[in-house]
Symmetry: C2
Subunit: 453 residues, 2 copies
């Protein structure tokens, strides 16, 4: 009895037409990264449990896919211990390895392990899949690609400036109008400080982060629940509801945070980034957004997120500055800043905008019809020469009916069909049919290349 | 206490210089596949256990990396059942998913699931990593890339012919001299038939496969152990020791296999492939090798393996014809033929031959020295314009000492350094230093592009 095949939920196959679109996305991002001098690295799909666990919070630990030790893994847990063990404690015994959850932690691990082989500042890009045991839903997958670029070993804010230029260039190439929302963790710290709750910074940022999704009433309710007094919540309101141009926001914010050194530092960092970006012409809108917090705890400076202006979609790119990521692996004091493009969401946005360039749809240029061995023998050197000159060709493998072969050319959208029969062979020629116009031309054997190019 | 980071044994990080070499290999293979009209697909890293288990023999089942079910996996095995369970039976309960072991089985699964979206004959290529829990050793990894091309839905031997042309072209581009060893499973069946042991075909091919490694004495000993009589082993000797040109071997073989229909069919298939390949000029040596068996049981026709002539190394490419791979997934009668390049071994061969082209080592073309914000503001539009014209540039992010910045350019092998100070700004110019010659040139702001190109 044959199996009905399926794939694990939350994962996807990519057909050739989807691959061409995806490669267009990856190639575009990669080419821009390269033009800024970023270098590629790759890390293994599997990392040790020790490298991954505890880096993404409790929820993250649950969502990491763990790999069963090969061989007799059962030996590591006695039957008498099994009964009272939890699944998580068992996973820690049965598994030494897990699938990477993002590219940032593996990158930090890479920098520490290869510190003697790399030059600082080290600018790397990495385009690889990551795996998360999230509940699958529209636009959320259990296997998806991240496209990261990071610079480690430089505190300079020019790195932030260049990363925003990269974002601007990538989305300009895609033809997607975007808004880059910017904030700074230091400003958020300043806010927690001036309302007298510096130790509640995480609760406050988590609540603020939800402003757009759940509205101000619910954010205030959550802050109350987390133990902030009504008075302190009231003090937060002018900040949450700050309106106006970026300049106006900066001006008001300087007033509000006048007594917070760290808050003012955050403002001056962002002002510098905005100022330096005026040296180049950006297509994107830059927006100071104090409600932007970003979930990950390791950010310490500028943070950013990108939204498409013309399509309803979550963040399509994000990033920020982290001051001590490699510290957990024994290498403190190395500052980093990075961005990550969400290839899967960009794919959906480009589909909605129907914004793929036409040539991503084309592949084979000429199909040679197969009438039998003699004709094939005549065609083979012609085909070899076309391919050597960069023209993708196919020889139909079977001497099937002409109609079937032409149908294949049609289905595959192959623009030229080469027909070689006895007459063409006798004349040292090839009949070439342009499938768009329907026109047929009898072409010298040696001229097929210039004809189809 | 900081962790000492490590990666799982048998896996590898790839540094930028290794990535450039690897991408050269992948890009070369990909470009040749494309020139033959093959289309890209990708499948998920994880497949269901049902898809993978039982497809690679008992040994394969053991070597498949299994992924622990997320959530409360412990629920699926009662404590009372745990004591008597084996690790393998537990794995089947704890795990629904596993990492793919090769690209062929996922491809068969893909064809069956997408049969209504693809046109037959379907020519696909796929370059993705696979995972095996093999004991790591020199040249054998637990994560490695396969670079496969297959055609399904066509019985034509022209597919075999084109795959050999692909192999020839790829290794010509790499500058690696190779021998393509060819055999046919039907010939092996014919041999088993004429010595009167058709049901021992697997044992015989497994033993013959080891001829080169363990020598004729040991092969004969193994055959004896598997239950072949001395008489039958004697009958095998002329075949095992067949010498001469391909034509001589074919002639002798036709005599030996005269009474085996399937054996003669195998010979005539190979003769056709050799004949048709004479229509194009190949660089590679083609060799009929009756001791080539290839381990995988699903092959039914032509099989091939590639060896580098000038480097001691195992097979660097292999493949063959399989008549019923999709049958296990409920779609019988679809013939396929494919090849797979061993990217990791090719990497090692190219390293041994030092045969990488020079330009795989280069990345950033111009480093702009950073003297401070005013100079950076002047440089930014120049840099943006160079990048827009395809010239990879870097701006040193910190206004560090000149020496340190020059050292960075040296370490990174960046060929040009652009120096912008007060003088250059006053004259609307840029000082460009050629790092190879040491020469410095004062260049108009708008002429940097043509100067460094």
């Amino acid at each position: 009895m044959a199996q009905q095949p399926s794939i694990p939920k939350g994962t996807r196959d990519f057909t050739p037409s989807e691959m061409l679109k995806r490669n267009y996305i990856f190639d575009t991002i990669r080419s821009v990264y390269k033009s800024y001098g970023f270098l590629p690295i790759e890390t293994p799909a599997m990392e040790t449990m020790q490298t991954l666990m505890g880096k993404y919070g409790e929820e993250g630990d649950r969502l990491i896919f763990k790999i069963l030790n090969s061989g007799d893994f059962k030996q590591s847990v006695e039957a008498s211990d099994y009964a009272n063990a939890t699944s998580l404690s068992l996973a820690n015994k049965f598994c030494e390895k897990a699938l990477r959850y993002d590219l940032t932690v593996p990158f930090a691990r890479f920098v520490v392990m290869h510190r003697n082989e790399i030059q600082l500042p080290f600018k790397r890009y990495q385009l690889q899949p990551v795996w998360r045991a999230d509940r699958p839903q529209k636009g959320r997958y259990r296997e998806f690609y991240q496209c990261d670029a990071d610079i480690v070993g430089s505190d300079s804010l020019l790195n932030e400036v260049e990363l925003i230029q990269i974002i601007d260039t990538v989305f300009a190439k895609f033809g997607i109008n975007i808004t880059v929302k910017l904030n700074n963790r230091k400003i958020l710290s300043g806010i927690a400080e001036i309302i007298g709750e510096p130790e509640k910074i995480v609760d406050i940022t988590v609540a603020i982060d939800k402003l757009e999704k759940i509205g101000i009433e619910n954010v205030n309710a959550e802050l109350l629940e987390k133990g902030l007094t009504q008075e302190k919540i009231a003090a937060l309101q002018p900040i949450l509801l700050l309106q106006g141009s970026n300049e106006e926001k900066f001006a008001k914010l300087k007033d509000i945070l006048a007594s917070s050194e760290i808050g003012l530092k955050g403002i001056s960092e962002l002002e510098y980034i905005f100022k330096m970006l005026q040296n180049v012409s950006l297509r994107s809108t830059l927006q100071l957004d104090l409600t932007l917090a970003r979930g990950l705890n390791y950010y310490t400076g500028a943070i950013l997120e990108v939204k498409a202006n013309d399509v309803e979609m979550g963040s399509i790119c994000g990033g920020g500055r982290y001051d001590n990521l490699t510290g957990i692996f024994g290498m403190p004091g190395l500052s980093g800043v990075g961005i990550s493009f969400g290839a899967d969401r960009i794919y959906d946005v480009l589909n909605q905008l129907d914004a793929y360039p036409n040539d991503t749809k084309e592949a084979t240029k000429v199909l040679f019809i197969n009438f039998g061995d003699a004709e094939v023998a005549y065609s083979m050197p012609i085909i070899a020469s076309l391919r050597a000159n960069g023209v993708a060709c196919e020889l139909y493998p079977d001497a099937a009916k002409m109609k079937k072969q032409m149908q294949y050319a049609n289905d595959r959208k192959i623009p030229f069909v080469a027909i070689v029969g006895g007459d063409e062979m006798a004349q040292n020629k090839v009949m070439v049919k342009n499938m768009t116009t329907g026109e047929q031309s009898l072409v010298e054997k040696d001229s097929v290349l210039s004809f189809v190019e």
